[in-house]
Symmetry: C2
Subunit: 237 residues, 2 copies
DNA sequence: TCCGTTGACGAACGACGTTCGCGACGAACA
DNA sequence: TGTTCGTCGCGAACGTCGTTCGTCAACGGA
């Protein structure tokens, strides 16, 4: 059976339903309510239909969220200016930013390695830039994997940070609840209660542990990775 | 109806319920069926009770899984032999191994930053070793955060790999289904189908992208991080 | 005009996290 | 010993979840 597809049954009344529309709706719902709360029912409701209708275009929730994540990566522009390292760092930062712009959609990468077309486009460019930088082929291969882990982890961290900020900015949830939602304050609170005899180094470095806005920290981590790559020398392993 | 059923709640036999017993049961269930499938109901069943009983000792599922993850870290021994770098790499590897030993319990770290007593013990030692290595304080602070991301990501990757291996070894699920479950083969399959004109670098490096057992790859990543840290020089930023 | 194909979707199933309130027990007291 | 009372285990239930099934409507080709 060769499904030629393309033309989605345009019922006159409504239902301009299509895989793209479903995926776009899913991403929009994630933007609004977050990854976990983005249920098939809510996505369907956003399309003014029932949950069963989604399964025409999507095998299950995993696949839908995977597609939504890849859609989020569609808007990442490949950098053109600067040397290989600058372009690589810009590309990684843009990827993180684009994911973080869509709430915690990066959670989709935890369950499954992203291999959609837009993810692959970015992978291709990363590999190209790494080789341009003289990194050995084997190291390039592993570095892309490593950078993928970095991107997901940092995007999730940023999403949590944004959510906390939003909670503080929201006057409805301000005051005490916002303090509880502010995860930086919560973490520092744990450190504050530690016994200096048992955890001397944590206590000594406490101000530093929660210091530095996300962007500064993330850029530093990326610099560490690239410097570390360059330190591996010309022969891989 | 109201058939209470002859369930004379064996009084002396059990009722050894406690927070530790609940957390230990949760970890055991995760070992067996994985993080997602480790429901409150299954944990309760493992304790021969109902799900409501767990809430006496635990606020919700998140807290339970957080505690279970921390319990998994209890058995990580702090290395004593070798220089600071060797001890640091050993400690990180042991942490990853201990988490990976308990299926995908590391998923608990995705939702919440681990701050349990055993996690803090490891954090303390990591900070100590980094300072011993002459890393500037600010860099130590961020490095611990970075290493935490590394540990979670790698532990999850290893768990997926182990699961795939188990599926292949299981004669009941062998043959076709095992091939589908083998995520390395699945990833390579995606690469194999790519257009060499659109993704020249991926196609060229394809054998390398999926090469290298997890351990080798992970050790390499850790080396990259530490070398990158050392490359940051004596002044942080 | 009719038919076969196919998308849309109401209804339902089983499992989930969490809450509520009953009732059985041990301790305190008469 | 008999009675009361506070505690807490847990059965039952609520609302939500992902997913499946069977039916129906609508179109393209005959």
């Amino acid at each position: 059976m060769l499904v030629v597809a393309a033309s989605p049954r345009t019922r006159p009344a409504k239902s301009a339903l299509s895989r793209e529309a479903v995926v776009a709706a899913a991403l929009a719902v994630v933007d609004e309510v977050g990854f976990e709360a983005a249920s098939m029912r809510r996505v369907a409701a956003a399309l003014d239909t029932g949950p069963a209708s989604l399964y025409v275009y999507v095998a299950d929730r995993r696949e839908l969220m995977e597609a939504a994540q890849d859609l989020a990566l569609a808007e990442v522009e490949l950098p053109v200016a600067g040397g290989w390292r600058e372009r690589l760092e810009t590309l990684v930062a843009r990827t993180v930013a684009e994911l973080a712009r869509h709430n915690d959609i990066a959670q989709a990468a935890v369950a499954d390695v992203p291999l959609g077309p837009h993810a692959l486009r970015i992978h291709e460019e990363l590999l190209r830039l790494l080789r341009e930088g003289g990194i050995p082929d084997a190291a390039c291969a592993w570095a892309v994997d490593f950078l993928g882990q970095y991107v997901s982890a940092v995007a999730l961290e940023q999403a949590a940070w944004h959510r906390a900020q939003r909670a503080i900015a929201d006057p409805e949830k301000a005051t005490v609840e916002a303090m509880g939602a502010d995860f930086v304050a919560r973490i520092d609170g744990v450190y504050a209660g530690l016994d200096a005899a048992e955890f001397p180094t944590i206590v000594a470095l406490r101000p530093l542990l929660t210091a530095g806005g996300g962007d500064e920290r993330d850029a530093w981590k990326l610099r560490v990775i690239v410097d570390g790559l360059l330190a591996q020398g010309p022969t891989p392993g």
